[in-house]
């Protein structure tokens, strides 16, 4: 296979499929991460104490719980997209690639769900307010 761009060389290889969407979503979540993860780091560093009461009480406030949940969605979506690229670059066997991508999807959605549930639990049921 040459490296030219003549149409004959790319014909029959299939369409670019969801590539553009993937690329754009990676960048939208990148901006979300930049804002929200910086916010989390600043918020954590500024907490006067990091005992359970302080952390749980902080996370339970709506003004913290909502951006936190947004951050979780943005981060795990970005992770799902980002590690997918890594896998596609280095895992060449179709069967193994499929299996690893399934594993990655379970990780991103599963861990994201645990995080969202934890914040929701603190916000609705826990933490002194």
């Amino acid at each position: 296979m040459g490296s030219g761009t003549k149409v004959g060389k790319v014909r029959g290889l299939g369409s670019a499929k969801s590539g553009v969407h993937h690329w754009v979503a990676q960048r939208f979540t990148a901006i979300g991460n930049a804002l929200l993860v910086s916010w989390l780091i600043a918020g954590l560093v500024m907490l006067p104490s990091h005992d359970h009461g302080a952390v749980a009480g902080w996370l339970a406030q709506p003004i913290v719980a909502v951006p936190m949940m947004l951050m979780i969605v943005s981060v795990f979506y970005h992770i799902r997209l980002g590690l997918q690229v890594l896998i596609e670059d280095y895992v060449h066997d179709d069967g193994l690639k499929f299996a690893v991508l399934v594993l990655l999807t379970f990780y991103a959605i599963g861990a994201g769900a645990v995080c969202l549930f934890s914040v929701a639990k603190l916000a609705f049921a826990g933490g002194p307010l």
Partner: protein, 144 residues
């Protein structure tokens, strides 16, 4: 095993000459992947521990930050976790700044050889400085 029809490949690592632009590209990937796996699991552990109540959170805090003076295994865990936390914060700053560089370059700017080289170096230096500043602040403030 099964392999689809060969796709066109872009030239890989071996043909490029080393320089700041190459290092920063590799760092973007390494830090992104580190944050995704270690950071993602850490975030999950932290939030789950907080949601599980004071006793579980105390266990989390014990191993991550402040084990008993007499507990050698706990202290080793504390050291390892501090190195991991400092590493994660550096990875975040490095990935954040090189990610912003990505966004600028996506708009078509910053490809001139000198500009590209300069900003690559600026990004790497900024990440180290931000990490030092963050931890200097945390340690001088006496975090707990």
């Amino acid at each position: 095993m099964a392999q689809s029809r060969p796709r066109p490949l872009s030239p890989h690592l071996t043909i490029w000459r080393w320089g700041p632009h190459m290092l920063i590209s590799i760092l973007h990937r390494v830090t992104g992947d580190g944050l995704a796996i270690v950071g993602g699991l850490g975030l999950t552990w932290w939030l789950f521990a907080a949601a599980s109540g004071p006793a579980d959170y105390a266990t989390f805090q014990y191993y991550v930050w402040r084990a008993d003076e007499a507990d050698l295994a706990g202290l080793i865990a504390n050291y390892v976790s501090r190195i991991v936390l400092i590493g994660l914060s550096w990875a975040f700053f490095q990935h954040l700044f090189s990610g912003l560089r990505h966004l600028v370059m996506d708009m078509g700017a910053g490809y001139e050889l000198k500009t590209n080289r300069t900003w690559s170096l600026v990004v790497m230096a900024a990440a180290v400085i931000a990490t030092i500043a963050l931890w200097a602040y945390i340690f001088t403030r006496g975090a707990h």
